[in-house]
């Protein structure tokens, strides 16, 4: 299988704080990759370095065989991105946001088809800020898919959603994977990671503490459940019991 994302020895610090320390990983075409870790572990910094919105201090990054800094224009024709924060104009409607997103790409998909597929076609005239949490996340997936991408980056896509809405998003992502899309995601929900990810990487204070599949993660730890294994790797369980 072809490597879609390849990172070698990525390092990034903010002043004296080492945010990402010598991280290497690779994501194969058509797989779902999960980047895990506590808040501040370096997940968002890693994504931003991969996308080129932050400049790495050291290391090699290639996405679809391209350098995100020097091949920005051609690379982002094929990459869909959903950042953690909201990033749309206050008064904009769903239809306008989709139209303006589509106009940025040469081979954009028709947004109406995507909105229909994700069950929010009737919301075209609604302001984005009036959507429910689940509808908004579905819209953000639509926006990430408008370029007709080969790979999408989704940063904490399901944070703030209720259980049903999260399941809906999982279903959507599984369907997209079936169609051959490569997905790079971060998440705080271990059930979600178990259900979706082929490969995971767990970060702790910028360092990789585990890299492999979910079942390997369980096997190599002293735990039976993935969530326990995750806490074991990130050492949060030990800290918590001390607090108790």
């Amino acid at each position: 299988m072809q490597e879609v994302i390849k990172i070698e020895q990525l390092t990034k610090s903010y002043g004296r704080l080492l945010a990402v320390d010598n991280l290497s990983l690779s994501v194969k075409s058509g797989t779902v990759f999960g980047l895990l870790g506590a808040n501040g572990a370096g997940k968002s910094t890693t994504i931003e370095c991969i996308l080129g919105t932050k400049k790495a201090d050291g290391g090699q990054i290639s996405v679809l065989g391209m350098n995100p800094h020097t091949n920005r224009k051609s690379l982002f024709e094929k990459v869909g991105v959903q950042f953690q924060e909201t990033n749309y104009q206050e008064q904009i409607t769903v239809g306008e946001l989709c139209e303006v997103t589509a106009c940025l790409y040469r081979n954009a998909v028709n947004p109406s088809d995507l909105l229909t597929r994700f069950g929010i076609a009737d919301k075209q005239k609604s302001p984005v800020k009036d959507l429910s949490g689940g509808q908004r996340q579905r819209l953000f997936i639509v926006l990430a898919l408008i370029p007709n991408p080969e790979v999408v980056f989704l940063d904490e896509l399901t944070t703030g959603l209720d259980a049903r809405a999260r399941r809906e998003v999982w279903q959507i992502l599984s369907d997209l994977k079936e169609k051959g899309l490569t997905i790079f995601l971060t998440s705080h929900f271990m059930d979600e990671v178990e259900a979706l990810c082929d490969q995971i990487c767990i970060l702790k204070q910028g360092k990789m503490v585990f890299y492999g599949t979910v079942s390997e993660a369980i096997k190599n730890s002293s735990c039976d459940r993935f969530e326990d294994a995750y806490l074991w790797y990130t050492d949060e369980e030990g800290k918590n019991s001390e607090n108790f």
Partner: protein, 247 residues
Amino acid sequence: MKTFRTMLKTELKLSLRGMDMFIFAICVPLVVLIILGVIYGSKPAFDGADYTFLEQSFGALATISICAGGVMGLPLVVSDYRSRHILKRYKVTPVSPSMILFVQVAIYTLYAVLSLILLYLAATVFFGFQFHGSFISFLGGYLLVIVSMFSIGMMVGGIAPNTKIAGVIASVLYFPMLIFSGATLPYEVMPAALQKVADILPLTQGIKLLKAASLGLHEESQAISVMIMFAIAVICTGISLKFFKWE
């Protein structure tokens, strides 16, 4: 081109939905024109002047919209789009984030041009306004005022750390310029001391240029005004280019 057109259409709709620029850049100049017209009618600017008071004020009124868009509209929209991470979002698309800034500049230029046309029509139809000077030098001066005011706005929006500070700086620039540079309150009715203060404001120099151009006057101070406006444009553009914060 398709990208620019679609973005312009959407951003223009958003701007009109906000209403504030429609009020400050389109309605305010017309209201001030009508007030001056009603008060001074077609009285000569001073005894023995061969142009009316309103004709003398036209160049000043034409800058109200530029001032509103340049030092109020632009800084607010730029800092708002930065704090909402819209500029950052464009960094992960094939289109550069500077495109959306370019679109905003186009929108505020449209407001300014529309305001100029409406002022000209209203002044001509209701108050017998006549344009005495050269259209070419008036439009040249108008463009220079746009460039220098918008560069101030882009600098403030680009380097203000957050939307709140951008709003404060915009107000500090906008209201004194609106009132004391002669854009609304005519420079000619100000006491001499106030005129000296007004001369410091960059917009005052722009207004002097436009007045001279619209009245067909030739004064030696015009060259200085042109240089000041030009210097502001160069300095502020330079600072924006060097220190602009995308996130």
